[in-house]
Symmetry: C2
């Protein structure tokens, strides 16, 4: 029987190299897709487009929002929270992202950034707040869906004040 | 020349199956390691062991903590924050995790949970707070290191109060 070892070595070596190349390529594609997710979200949020916003979330999303309670469990609960938040504003809410960091694995990703929300409340008052945002994603049927949001401002323990006027 | 197609088919099929098995196995191993990270962190935190805590973080960690500023950039800044927090307590700080969810990819993971911190302040006053925690991890040289923390309580916008007494 002919010795097949050289063929197998070349084949396995090629598979390993191909795998590494595909992984690097997939990672940069995944990062670009997560960045697109953020921009698409900002566009939908600016426009108060609740359906477009919610189409970007997984059914079993759990959110720790800037407002109580401690957690919103599931898409329906989080949708109501979004609707209440958007209803406070009159007209577009401008979104600015800063210091965005994106980490991608195999079908799993998370991102964190500072986020400025800037708009006019229905009372006529201007609102301009910097919040901290962390989001976790899962790739489901080839599409990145947000499965976890955490949005907050820091707290001052002595006064029990929420610090809504901090700037980066 | 002998037809090598059957051999190649079997070989490639075996590689694909092996790959899937290894992935599933690696995922459950990774999840167990992240869970161990949490328990190890709780033990070090309870004991005020700052070195043990900081050995679990990546050098370029960025933290959004419950206290200001908006962000702590890098391990040294975060270490000072930890030191100040721990210094407020007299004796052990008990940690309870609830509703822990762990997501793992290839070298990337994130976790979210509710966390109860329970101890006695140096003033003699008892402190018992539920916070929301999200952490992001990278596997660096075979070890999971925390590269991002987000810890918070919700805020009441009308009163600007930080809600430090919510319970799940």
């Amino acid at each position: 029987m002919k010795n097949r070892a050289p063929l197998l070595t070349v084949l396995l070596g090629s598979i390993i190299l191909l795998n590494a190349a595909l992984t690097a390529d997939a990672q940069s594609k995944d990062k670009a897709e997560i960045r697109q997710w953020l921009d698409q979200w900002a566009k939908a949020f600016r426009a108060h487009d609740l359906d477009a916003i919610m189409s970007m979330y997984a059914p079993d999303v759990v959110a720790y929002d800037i407002v109580p309670p401690l957690q919103y469990v599931g898409k329906e609960a989080y949708r109501k929270d979004y609707a209440q938040f958007l209803a406070q504003y009159d007209g577009p809410i401008e979104v600015e992202f800063r210091d965005v960091q994106i980490f991608v694995g195999h079908g799993v990703a998370f991102v964190y950034c500072l986020e400025r929300l800037n708009g006019t409340l229905k009372s006529g008052q201007k609102s301009d707040v910097w919040v901290r945002v962390t989001s976790g994603f899962q790739k489901i049927s080839g599409k990145w869906l947000d499965i976890h949001d955490h949005v907050s401002v820091p707290a001052d323990f002595d006064s029990s004040k929420a610090l809504l006027d901090l700037k980066p």
